[in-house]
């Protein structure tokens, strides 16, 4: 049977997550050799569909372009997926806030379980997923006829973009009298997305203020890094919530992660401990972050950051 992947997109652009989810789908289709379809649901999404059609391994891109799917609200999107799901053995989405919002709805409508945030595919029905903030890895097997799964994108290498899948229109239109979009406040940033960046530099409560986060800017510029934060920095109002890394924020696994003024609570580690190289800068030599850091620098960040910037 075939696999359906729900595409991530915003502002008329395909999100980078989808190429990773297709890679996970390919691993599931390895035995069955089934097709991989991508669903693009939204309003004015033809450009998204065209980019999705270039993803390697995709058979068809199905496009549901209608005002009811604008902003990808959970209620209409869940109904749309439920209407399409019977043709598939698996429905996948990234573990983005959209995927997490919608896929459990689909699963419940189809009376099946949902598997969250998988990091490994053992076979078409057996998967690995982190539990307890990543302090344990569970291997689970699903006997449900339809497998509804969200995928941790950092665990799967993206497929490349040399394909040319067919693009088809989906005519299914559902009603939505339950919810309405009111507004959105999206952070504007010139920097790479946290989830996709090769280098991430994050600040914690130790930064002391939002103003001081500017100390990270120059370093991020030089390294082409995304800037992240601990929950404490978000809670203190230093930076917006979309910068949070951790169990309940974004999960990142860059080549280089630099934690500045972050103590290393397990909830923060859950979001970054799969990074290839970890650097910690903290003035407390007992800070738990040093137990997992490849390179620890015991120093006052207000001295270390300007020096680091000048020496890069």
């Amino acid at each position: 049977m075939s696999i359906l992947v729900l595409a991530d997109h915003h502002d008329g652009q395909l999100g980078s997550a989808t190429a990773h989810v297709v890679a996970a789908a390919q691993q599931m289709a390895k035995e069955s050799g089934g097709d991989i379809d991508v669903l693009v649901a939204g309003e004015n999404v033809s450009a998204v569909a065209e980019t999705a059609a270039q993803l390697d391994g995709v058979t068809r891109v199905r496009v549901a372009d209608n005002a009811v799917y604008a902003h990808q609200l959970a209620e209409p999107l869940g109904d749309l997926l439920a209407a399409l799901a019977d043709d598939y053995s698996h429905v996948l989405a990234s573990a983005s806030t959209t995927g997490k919002n919608v896929l459990p709805r689909l699963a419940a409508l189809k009376d099946v379980s949902q598997l969250s945030d998988i990091i490994g595919v053992a076979s078409a029905d057996t998967f690995q997923r982190p539990i307890y903030a990543g302090n344990a890895i569970a291997t689970v097997q699903s006997a449900d006829r339809l497998k509804v799964i969200t995928v941790r994108t950092s665990a799967f290498e993206a497929v490349s973009e040399s394909g040319s899948a067919a693009i088809e229109t989906v005519d299914t239109v559902v009603d939505n009298a339950l919810s309405a979009f009111v507004g959105e406040e999206l952070a504007q940033s010139e920097r790479p997305e946290l989830g996709a960046a090769k280098v991430v530099i994050s600040g914690g409560r130790g930064m002391g203020s939002g103003e001081n986060f500017k100390l990270l800017d120059g370093i991020a510029d030089k390294l082409g890094a995304a800037i992240g934060a601990s929950r404490a920095a978000v809670d203190a109002g230093f930076v917006p919530n979309d910068m949070q890394v951790g169990q309940t924020g974004k999960i990142v696994a860059p080549e280089l992660y630099i934690a500045v003024g972050i103590s290393g609570a397990i909830q923060h580690l859950a979001g970054m401990k799969d990074s290839k190289v970890i650097v910690a800068i903290n003035k407390d030599e007992e800070a738990p972050i040093f137990q997992i850091a490849d390179y620890g620098l015991v120093a006052d960040l207000f001295e270390a950051l300007p020096e680091l910037e000048s020496k890069l």
Partner: protein, 254 residues
């Protein structure tokens, strides 16, 4: 309006878990248990809505073994008016999957007819992040997940949601389902007199069989392992040394 709050008993979030030597599961013997942090936020939000005169009654519900009544008593001490325990001991000593919890909560929603149901966004044991969305689908109600602000406006609920790129606000018809994010509020601590008073508040018990819900799941836990340990690294003495190591040893910067 009546508010239903779902609370889950989980391992205390400060505890470092251990995997059982036979890799069958995580070892929970003699481990400190507590209310899931996101559920504390859910209770707090409901109690605040009651204190502001928006809600008339707050009902706490949990699905779990007998011991989960401790978390219901906590919810009562924090200000819930009464509690419902769906006792799963007869069916299973083990965890009940999110879908089964959602089906049980659906029955409670049908029975209690709340205008608002508040759940945590995620249980910190399974990290599932599913139950609220599933309950919304089963009851045919709208959902405001990952809420950082909730406002009742007439017959509508305005929910500000924490999404990947920032914040999104949606308007939902009532009744509705909300799941809490960490910034929604700062939960209070229960005071001793309230803990004493909570012992006298009503707590009803039901079973999945009485509610006509099958709790078995089609998902089997094959094994649980510890993640690959990171090798502890080294301390560098200076910024110069750090830059040198990153360039020449780790080769992650040029």
């Amino acid at each position: 309006m009546k508010i239903l709050v779902a609370v889950k008993r989980v391992i205390d979030y400060n505890v470092k878990i251990r995997v059982k030597p036979d890799n069958s599961d995580v070892d929970l013997t003699n481990v400190k248990m507590a209310m899931n942090p996101f559920c504390e936020i859910a209770v707090e939000e409901a109690v605040r809505l009651k204190e502001r005169g928006v809600a008339s009654e707050v009902v706490a519900v949990t699905v779990g073994p007998k011991a989960a009544q401790e978390q219901l008593r906590t919810a009562l001490a924090l200000g819930a008016d009464r509690a419902i325990h769906i006792n799963t001991s007869a069916e299973t000593d083990e965890k009940v999957e999110s879908l089964a919890v959602a089906k049980l909560l659906q029955k409670v929603v049908e029975e209690e007819q709340p205008q608002l149901v508040i759940l945590g966004k995620q249980a910190i044991d399974t990290d599932n992040n599913q139950t609220g969305q599933m309950l919304a689908a089963l009851t045919g109600l709208p959902q405001g997940t990952f809420a950082s602000e909730v406002k009742v406006e007439g017959d509508k609920l305005q929910v500000t949601r924490e999404i990947d790129g920032g914040l999104q606000t949606v308007a939902l018809s009532l009744p509705a389902i909300v799941t809490t994010d960490l910034r929604l509020n700062e939960p209070r601590y229960a005071k001793l007199p309230d803990i004493m008073k909570a012992k006298k508040k009503p707590l009803a018990t039901q079973t999945p069989a009485e509610l006509g819900v099958e709790v078995a799941s089609k998902v089997t836990l094959l094994k649980v392992e510890s993640p690959a340990e990171r090798q502890g690294g080294i301390k560098v003495g200076s910024v110069d040394e750090l830059v040198e190591k990153l360039k020449n040893e780790a080769k992650v910067i040029s």
